[in-house]
């Protein structure tokens, strides 16, 4: 089975290593002796300039993985290192821009006060604090809420406040856990724009999300985990779609709409299924195969109106990976 072409694949990366998960495992033990393995034998390297997505179903171990990366939890086995030092040590020295899934800010604090406090702890110079606070308040549209107490903020505004505190400082590493949870469509789109603006060669961004569409749009690679195990790492986007895991790449379905040349389709795509109204479902195993066939189709006189993937590569890989583990 041919592998999807991957010109941007990460096998030959030369950028400096930033984050390394080395055979990381986390087992929770109860007082009664019961144990639950939240993460098992997780190994992954995340490099400078990369946006890595972490996808997985509920309880897959995403948040535990992030907690270990920030040093909030100690791995039962293995180690997490950032720039060659234990993760917690790195965080205490440098800080990380972190948005947690659960936005826990003292409800009695006012939004602006919370940001000033976090800016103080982040080591921002006294003279700079107000400027940085104003910047994130504007960036995240919190101006009209800055004097409100945290407990008075809506879910979406609280989420934006959480993101604002993560962006207070110019961090080299950003970790965003379910960043668009509770955001309306306008702010979801705005968030995506912000992440794209944050992309920088010397910055690494980790985004954990259930939202595959979001990861498809934002991430360079997506680590799919399920039941605490890394199932596969998928490079997103059709220009560099690929899988780094040992599993074989899977077929991708596209829906082709023809304006003319309906009679030619079976000659080029023998397995094409007629979906009616000039639309055909075809299965290919690589973009090269798709493009060659389309060129053939057009060369034979067909007029192609559209080619739409039935599912994104990521969605397809996710279904396959999670299905495999179950």
């Amino acid at each position: 089975m041919a592998k999807l072409p991957a010109p941007g694949d990460t096998d030959d990366r030369t950028a400096a290593l930033v984050i390394e998960f080395r055979n990381v495992g986390k087992t929770y033990k109860s007082l009664l002796g019961n144990s639950v393995k939240a993460v098992e034998e997780f190994s992954l390297v995340v490099v400078d300039g990369e946006i890595l997505g972490i996808a997985g179903p509920n309880g897959a171990g995403k948040t535990t993985l992030i907690a270990m990366m920030l040093g909030y939890l100690r791995p039962t086995t293995g180690a997490v290192e950032i720039n060659g030092v234990p993760a917690r040590q790195y965080v205490e020295r440098n800080g990380i821009g972190y948005l947690s899934e659960l936005i826990a800010i003292n409800p009695k604090w006012r939004a602006e006060t919370a940001l000033v406090r976090f800016a103080t702890l982040a080591g921002i110079a006294q003279s700079e604090i107000q400027r940085r606070v104003d910047y994130v308040v504007d960036l995240l549209g919190l101006a009209e809420h800055r004097d409100k107490k945290v407990k008075a903020l809506s879910k979406g505004n609280l989420q934006r406040l959480g993101l604002a505190q993560a962006l207070l400082r110019d961090e080299q590493i950003l970790v965003l856990d379910e960043p668009t949870h509770g955001l309306d469509p306008v702010w979801t789109q705005r968030f995506r724009d912000i992440v794209q603006e944050l992309r920088r060669p010397d910055r690494t961004i980790l985004i954990a999300s259930h939202n595959l569409d979001e990861l498809q749009r934002l991430a360079d690679r997506v680590a799919i985990i399920d039941r605490g195990r890394l199932q596969r790492v998928v490079s997103t986007g059709y220009e560099n779609a690929g899988v780094e895991s040992t599993t074989e790449p899977i077929a991708t379905r596209f829906r082709i709409t023809l304006a003319s040349g309906h009679e030619i389709i079976q000659a080029v795509f023998p397995q094409a299924e007629d979906a009616g109204r000039g639309e055909y479902d075809v299965t290919v195993h690589s973009l090269a195969e798709l493009n060659a066939a389309l060129a053939d189709l057009i060369g034979k006189g067909a007029l192609v109106a559209s080619v739409i993937p039935e599912r994104s590569v990521l969605e397809q890989q996710f279904r396959e990976a999670v299905g495999e583990s179950q």
Binding site: Y72, S100, L102, A104, F118, T120, G162
Partner: protein, 243 residues
């Protein structure tokens, strides 16, 4: 800006938290308790010089020392565990902050807060009982904060129910020492390991009354609390920030 400087600057926020969340409660409890117990006796005794044999003096010592214990209990309740339970640690410690230094600073900021609260209350008491020494009382407050607060700090690092645990340890030590302290068997040796709360009454009487106390008693109380505070810091370094 260095991490130490930014953490030091954050102490002003910690003090503000203390004043709003705990200091006000300590003052209200102290005022109500003190007024309810001392005012009737003052009224009965009338305008006379208050000596150490005066019932007003005895009550003042008892009430003031009890208020210190309650103040320390209120101050260290949840000093670490509250952030863990509420999840506040997530944003606090994604910043370049060492949690051990953060909570050590918080412990001493709260100590300043307790002493400031006791300064207010003892100034009022001094108006009623002029022989009541404010400096001696503040010295006693500092000692009890270290002795009791150090254990409370350790319990807050290691358990979720630190308020309850501290009250149980404090009262339990008194009860067990009362039961077995005078004996010579293994139980009496075992209770020697408990917090030396039995020394507190003597220390309160002598330290608040005269400004001096048996050095051995003071060292026991101070050493016990300081040891547990240090153990709390070590546990904070060792255990996970998240539950």
């Amino acid at each position: 800006m260095s991490r130490a400087t930014s953490l030091a600057r954050y102490s002003l926020w910690q003090f503000r938290d203390f004043a709003i969340d705990r200091g006000a409660a300590i003052l209200i409890i102290g005022l109500l308790w003190g007024y309810a117990l001392i005012e009737p006796i003052r009224h009965a005794v009338g305008p006379q010089v208050v000596g150490s044999a005066s019932p007003l003096w005895v009550v003042a010592i008892q009430v003031s020392s009890a208020i210190v214990s309650v103040a320390v209990l209120v101050a260290v309740n949840g000093i670490v565990s509250a952030d863990r339970k509420a999840g506040y640690y997530r944003f606090l410690f994604s910043k370049p902050v060492n949690p051990v230094l953060y909570y050590a600073q918080q412990f001493f900021v709260y100590m300043v807060g307790v002493i400031a609260s006791m300064l207010v209350l003892s100034s009022l008491l001094h108006k009623i009982v002029p022989t009541f020494s404010i400096p001696h009382f503040l010295l006693y407050t500092a000692l009890v904060y270290i002795a009791m607060g150090g254990i409370g700090f350790f319990l807050s690092v290691t358990t979720r129910y630190d308020w309850l645990s501290l009250a149980a340890v404090w009262l339990g030590a008194r009860v067990l020492r009362g039961l077995y302290g005078a004996g010579n068997d293994w139980r009496s040796k075992l209770v020697e390991l408990l917090p030396p709360v039995h020394r507190l009454d003597d220390v309160a009487n002598s330290l608040i009354g005269t400004g001096s106390a048996h050095m051995a008693d003071v060292m026991w109380l101070f050493g016990y609390g300081a040891l547990f505070f240090a153990l709390g810091l070590a546990a904070l370094r060792w255990r996970s920030l998240a539950d």
